[in-house]
Symmetry: C2
Subunit: 348 residues, 2 copies
Amino acid sequence: MTELPTTECTDHPAPAEEVLAEYLHARAGAFLRALPLAVGEAGSRTGSLPSGGGSQAVAGGTGELLRCVRRIGGALHTFAPVFEPVWAEETRTELRWLSGLLAQEPGYVRRSARLLAAVDSLSETDPGRAGMLAGHAGAPKARALMERQLTLARTRAHTTLLQELRSARLHALADRMTLLAGEVPMLPEAAGALRPQVATALGLLAEGAAALPPVRTPYGGEGLHRLGAVPVQSATRVDADLVLAADDAPWHRVRILVKRARYALEVCGASLAELDGIDRVLDRHQEAADAAVTVSSAARTPRITPATAYVLGVVHADQRLEVEAARYAFGHQWPTLQHHGWHAWASC
Amino acid sequence: MTELPTTECTDHPAPAEEVLAEYLHARAGAFLRALPLAVGEAGSRTGSLPSGGGSQAVAGGTGELLRCVRRIGGALHTFAPVFEPVWAEETRTELRWLSGLLAQEPGYVRRSARLLAAVDSLSETDPGRAGMLAGHAGAPKARALMERQLTLARTRAHTTLLQELRSARLHALADRMTLLAGEVPMLPEAAGALRPQVATALGLLAEGAAALPPVRTPYGGEGLHRLGAVPVQSATRVDADLVLAADDAPWHRVRILVKRARYALEVCGASLAELDGIDRVLDRHQEAADAAVTVSSAARTPRITPATAYVLGVVHADQRLEVEAARYAFGHQWPTLQHHGWHAWASC
């Protein structure tokens, strides 16, 4: 489903560069309003972000700031030929830095919620909803271990965020946003349509999706044994983390292309519900993959009991199954996007 | 696909009791021929059954003996009203005992092959086929532990088999089979058709399959967390083994009904390829469920390392995924049996 674009995408009279500039003015303004809120939030809490919520649910100011950062960065990337190149490149680098910084703490909060929910569900003892680790002695210990390690990681991320929010680097970026809120450094000769660049972003996404390995049949008779044909460098020592990272990498790349396509459409005032759905699926893919890495690291903690390690093995497999589930969901949703959403966009 | 029945099922002139008696004579004769071979085999090997092969692949004489035992027991059950009841009940008890005895050792061989293949596949390091435990330090240890424990169990089963094959109890059963090879103790008034009893066996199977919990969607968004609504006795302490056993029980019951239906059709000289396929799927279900129990017991071995326990956790989850895969395959194959195979049988 496509909201009717309100810009030149539907032969709106506003010229392309004006639409883009307005979009960036608005996002930069929002950035500047959200920044002090985010700084206040970070200062007032001590690593006690509320857990739960969707994968995009980040508290008030911090969440809004992150949303602005990602969208401005996306627009600078997708419509790159329009901008003064040195300024755009520098700004994108700084936005990537801030985006990584802001995303870390809520990422740990979500990962903690995901893994604790998984172990709780696996060890659930209620009749009728019991899990395959019901009553297992290792479950409470594994839970406590994961909670402790993720709380520690979250606290560290919070401390780093607090420091960096007061840094000269952040002030310089805020100055760039102040400039952007008033004037977008565009190339004088860069006037033109937005539509070709949006089409390029969608085309890159389609290429990335087409290059993904075929989605494995559910229960293809191989259980969790194989991870498909992962072309790992044969010269390097093959270990599990390397194998899983190689297996996940093309999906993570497509996730970035999905976000870029979403933000590019947003500049034109358009959106595709199917694309938003796929974005959520690939967020889930990324989060389950990251959670699996956390679990396998936790299992390498010295002096844990075998019972704890056993539960972590089950939780690891469970998260890898979530990764497979997300790919399977992608395999179902992608054709719908291509048939309906894409078509709606192309005809608007 | 149904082979054309060569008996009264297609209005063949032979009366039902004659068809049944001939079938039992032939199976009892085969029993008596296979018994000395099985005894010789058991005596000559010392727990070194070849591993691998299909779930029904059991070596020469022992395998043939087991096939006869199951078929005679199945016929005595399905066509019970025809037989002298005390004799039939006693014979069935003894056949069940021998069936359990004969199945144990090959069962451990298959379980060992299954679990070692699983851990090998999970820890495979070949580029392009690497597993999620590639290079994991715990994998060789977990492999050695499972192999050691299953070899021990197999050796014990072998010793028991050797003893019992020389027991008075077995000689008494052989005497019963000698009787059966010449004369089937039927009730004088029991003449009648076989078809209604075969229909009853198929009907019980259909009822059992209809009462199964709905097959869970693959990747239903719950990973391995939940095992569906298992009505575990709330009074008892809920533990994982109990939960899994309760979850598996209805499937194990349907597996027995499938085998009875297969053997009942066989008496009439008929077979349904779809039913054979479902039998194999439910064998796989049973074997994966049993293998998962073995893995979780192995993880309770004192003094194992956390790395070993971790790998066992992953292997346990992998086997439970195989259980789910078998249920999913059942959910696909059952409707085909009902639409095609069933119809072919009903019209024959």
